[in-house]
Symmetry: C2
Subunit: 360 residues, 2 copies
Amino acid sequence: MSDIYFTPGPTALYFTAEEHIKNAIRNGVVSTSHRGQQFKDIYKACADNLKELMNIPDNYHVLITSSANEAWERIIQNCVRSDSYHISNGPFAARFEKVASQLQKRTHDLKLADGGIPSLEQIDVPEKAEIVTICLNESGTGAAFPLALINQIREKYPEKLIAIDGVSAVPVTPVDFTKIDTLYFSVQKAFGLPAGLGIWIANERCLSKAVELANEGLMIGSYHQLPEMVEKAMEYQTTETPNILGIYTLAKVAEDMLTKGVTAIRREIDYKAAILNIAVEEHPQLSHFIENPAYRSKTVSVIKTSFENSKLINHLKEKHIQIGTGYGKYKPEHIRIANFPTHSKEQMEMLVDMISAFKV
Amino acid sequence: MSDIYFTPGPTALYFTAEEHIKNAIRNGVVSTSHRGQQFKDIYKACADNLKELMNIPDNYHVLITSSANEAWERIIQNCVRSDSYHISNGPFAARFEKVASQLQKRTHDLKLADGGIPSLEQIDVPEKAEIVTICLNESGTGAAFPLALINQIREKYPEKLIAIDGVSAVPVTPVDFTKIDTLYFSVQKAFGLPAGLGIWIANERCLSKAVELANEGLMIGSYHQLPEMVEKAMEYQTTETPNILGIYTLAKVAEDMLTKGVTAIRREIDYKAAILNIAVEEHPQLSHFIENPAYRSKTVSVIKTSFENSKLINHLKEKHIQIGTGYGKYKPEHIRIANFPTHSKEQMEMLVDMISAFKV
């Protein structure tokens, strides 16, 4: 019996992914040239399906990176001349600031407690800052950044670029792309694919900014400069040989999700999150790390254990179920449970029953 | 019937790769955390097998990138303060210079005709240049840079770092790592794996240089700074979630190559290159782009056609055999044929027979 992965990522493959990978090998997708028509068709299908699934406006570009980490770097290189502003409410949010700082930008950091959500008043972006970065779903803490607050930031600072870390949130969280400028994600979370591919979505304002910086003689990277990436992407081409197998599989899984319907997917996520949340609340030795339900992620639950977390983790492992430890400094005291589109209601019910029955 | 790919990359999968990919899915390799022991074991197996296969000394680090393109960028960022020297004898060699230039280094370029191999006297590295970059096997032109000349450059310039583009050459070309400082490759060429993974091998001199630059306050990148990559790699960890499936498959294919024996692999390459070369020489309408056999790549043959190349390409395609067009400006007038470890003697004999029988 193979294990069921509820780990926050890498995680269980989307249930159709294995078949798509096998087909890709059979159809020569793994051997085809990234300069040929077969690849162009794959990239187009991937971009079109993601646009439909995530309601991405036509004038946003769907670009290929190797990871979300790379997207951090490319966004800073291409969209920031000197100053950036970061809402740092957890380890992943904070890493965007770190990347900007390593790339020698002047960073302005709204440092919050782990899992904290700021009020609009707390968000005070200096005039010099060109971008505001936000982590939509903190896989480290289980905090979900409110979509309404993103919209308010947009109204308060219409001139600033807004960059969203969509990792582990999309396509579940219904982002309004007209309120943001760029969003990126890696595929080994909610899309349930093998790691090694990132998607970077960027609008014309990002592109103009990159062109502006390049015209000023600033360094905007080498093989993955935004203007060249966009130029190639217009023809469904890339500047380097990309992870073609990953792009193909993402195109197919996005298609499967469209067939199922994003509403059905979100309804299932809601149901699974609800039963898990109730189990945590009713369990005498478990509690939510994010106390306010409005700020609690539906896709990554971070749960405090009043006992050594390995007891529950190992108990489940014996039953061939894998859940995550805490992240970073919380490694021994939290458990993390993913609730992604690939996890069926039945699987989550089984997990919830096991957790409810477990006492130390 | 699925096609046989003799394209220079992406190309045919190594004949055992499909089985390894299926096993990876079965064994949870695609779902495992990159922070866990299973991943560490995979990375260690990959590094150990590559070290044995390619005779890489113990004090060289085997690092994970997303592509050879990324390695260009990381080498320039981490190993060059101000000046770099590039032997540009073809499109891929020239792109290393372009990356350095885009990263705003002062580049010194030995610009040669496509496919040209310089004499030692021609190679005149300015004192300020910190690195010499060489493309071992130009997939664009079919030129192989002589290993003896690399050794001579090392003797002439012992203080300079030497960086080798090993794409489409390794593990076939027996590089002497003690004569170079860093080498990188992508896996979709001679290793016969799906694209989306690069391997960057670097020694302590590269590491010291990166530390030196960082200490001087220079920018050496963000999530893929060499010092941090090495620190993590010492524990078989990476700084970001990598292409775990790719690393696993590379570990397994390298193991299969070790089982077969690198001598046997190289002997087969020699045989296949020999029969292809003879066929070209005996064909009235074909000729080698690289006239001097000493400088001719064994793994990527670039052949001039005195007719429109699509005639032969399409003729072979009808027989389910795929070969490459010319690269860049040579697209309509060259054909390119890969001779990688996955291509069997029988497959190459069949291809050679078809080419010999083809007349316009």
